[in-house]
Amino acid sequence: MNSMNEWPRGQWLRLWSALPATLVRATARQLAERYEVEDLELAQSGLGLMPLSDSALGETYFIGEVPLARSQVRLASPAQGPVEGAATLVDDRIGLVRDLAILDAAVSARLPGHESAVELLEQGATVVAESDHQRRALLAATRVDFALLGTAEEDDDE
């Protein structure tokens, strides 16, 4: 279960949603076959108004809206009793968010069969790492220390 500790629940959605929805769907289907899924709240999509704290004066304001999809489910597990899971995603795919809620429930309670969902976490992590690398590269390749400009090290400018 080291992968469990490796990724706190707060990161699961990020990792899973980095993968093609079809992968998530397949795993959710398998789990749904083992455990009866009850919708505690109909999965739905809508909007959320996003408040930011302005970094100049610390005032709260709304920069705009983001799409949101959310779902909350309960898996009936004979062994462990009912297990609740949920997902809220900046996205508008109702099907996907329900699948994620099922994965969330299974992994959180480590229900038999959750291992495949943990594998998805690992796969998602590689995708996320790749995009992190891309972003870091954008910074690393353009880092500039104006304090050093004009010195021997960098005489190409001014």
Binding site: L40, E41, L42, Q44
Partner: protein, 194 residues
């Protein structure tokens, strides 16, 4: 939040008064009742409550409801998704005909008279009881309305609250199935009283 999609209640209550098409029909009934003061409009079908239906049609998380006499079931208040509030700060006040509220409801301001409250008064019966003679906008010549079980103090208070147009309150008299409306602009005389 008064939206069938977000209710965690069992299927059957999601039906009926919580359904958009039903609320659209109910609103058109209310529109007639507000446009033609004193006309009795049957709002609810059998098994429905006119009061709950009109509240479901008009209120949600954006409105404040005062229910000082606890006339609504907790479940229904949750399904309505309204913010509960005190009488003096409520957009909608639900009360019985027998005793008027002790508090003065919101009357709005000169700049924002629309903030005057809407009072929903549950009456034992419409089309029987004392006779009211109505004139004003929405009434061609004169409209008569019969209503039972209303404490006369109500009419005195209504006159006080509506003394300074455009400030005032608007009344919805709701029987089990029907409603009649008295906007702040309606002039009212009670038969036999002067």
């Amino acid at each position: 939040m008064n939206d069938p999609m977000t209710l965690e209640a069992p299927r059957d209550v999601r039906m009926g008064v919580w359904q958009p098409p039903r609320q659209q029909r109910a609103f058109r009934g209310l529109l007639t009742a507000f446009s033609y003061p004193g006309r009795v409009v049957r709002l609810a079908d059998d098994g429905e409550s006119a009061t709950l239906l009109l509240l479901a049609t008009l209120t949600d998380g954006a409105s404040r409801l005062a229910d000082p006499e606890r006339r609504l079931a907790e479940d229904d208040i949750r399904r309505l998704g309204v913010r509960s509030s005190a009488v003096e700060s409520a957009d909608f006040v639900l009360c019985g005909a027998a005793h008027p509220p002790q508090m003065t409801p919101r009357l709005g301001s000169l700049e924002n008279p629309e903030q005057g409250a809407t009072l929903v008064i549950q009456v034992p019966a419409l089309e029987e009881g004392i006779k009211l003679r109505l004139t004003g906008p929405g009434v061609e010549e004169e409209q008569t309305l019969r209503v039972a079980g209303v404490d006369p103090a109500w009419w005195r208070l209504r006159d006080e609250w509506n003394a300074h147009f455009p400030l005032g309150v608007d009344l919805i008299l709701a029987s089990e199935r029907a409603v009649a409306v008295l906007p702040r602009t309606t002039r009212l005389t009670v038969e036999g009283v002067h």
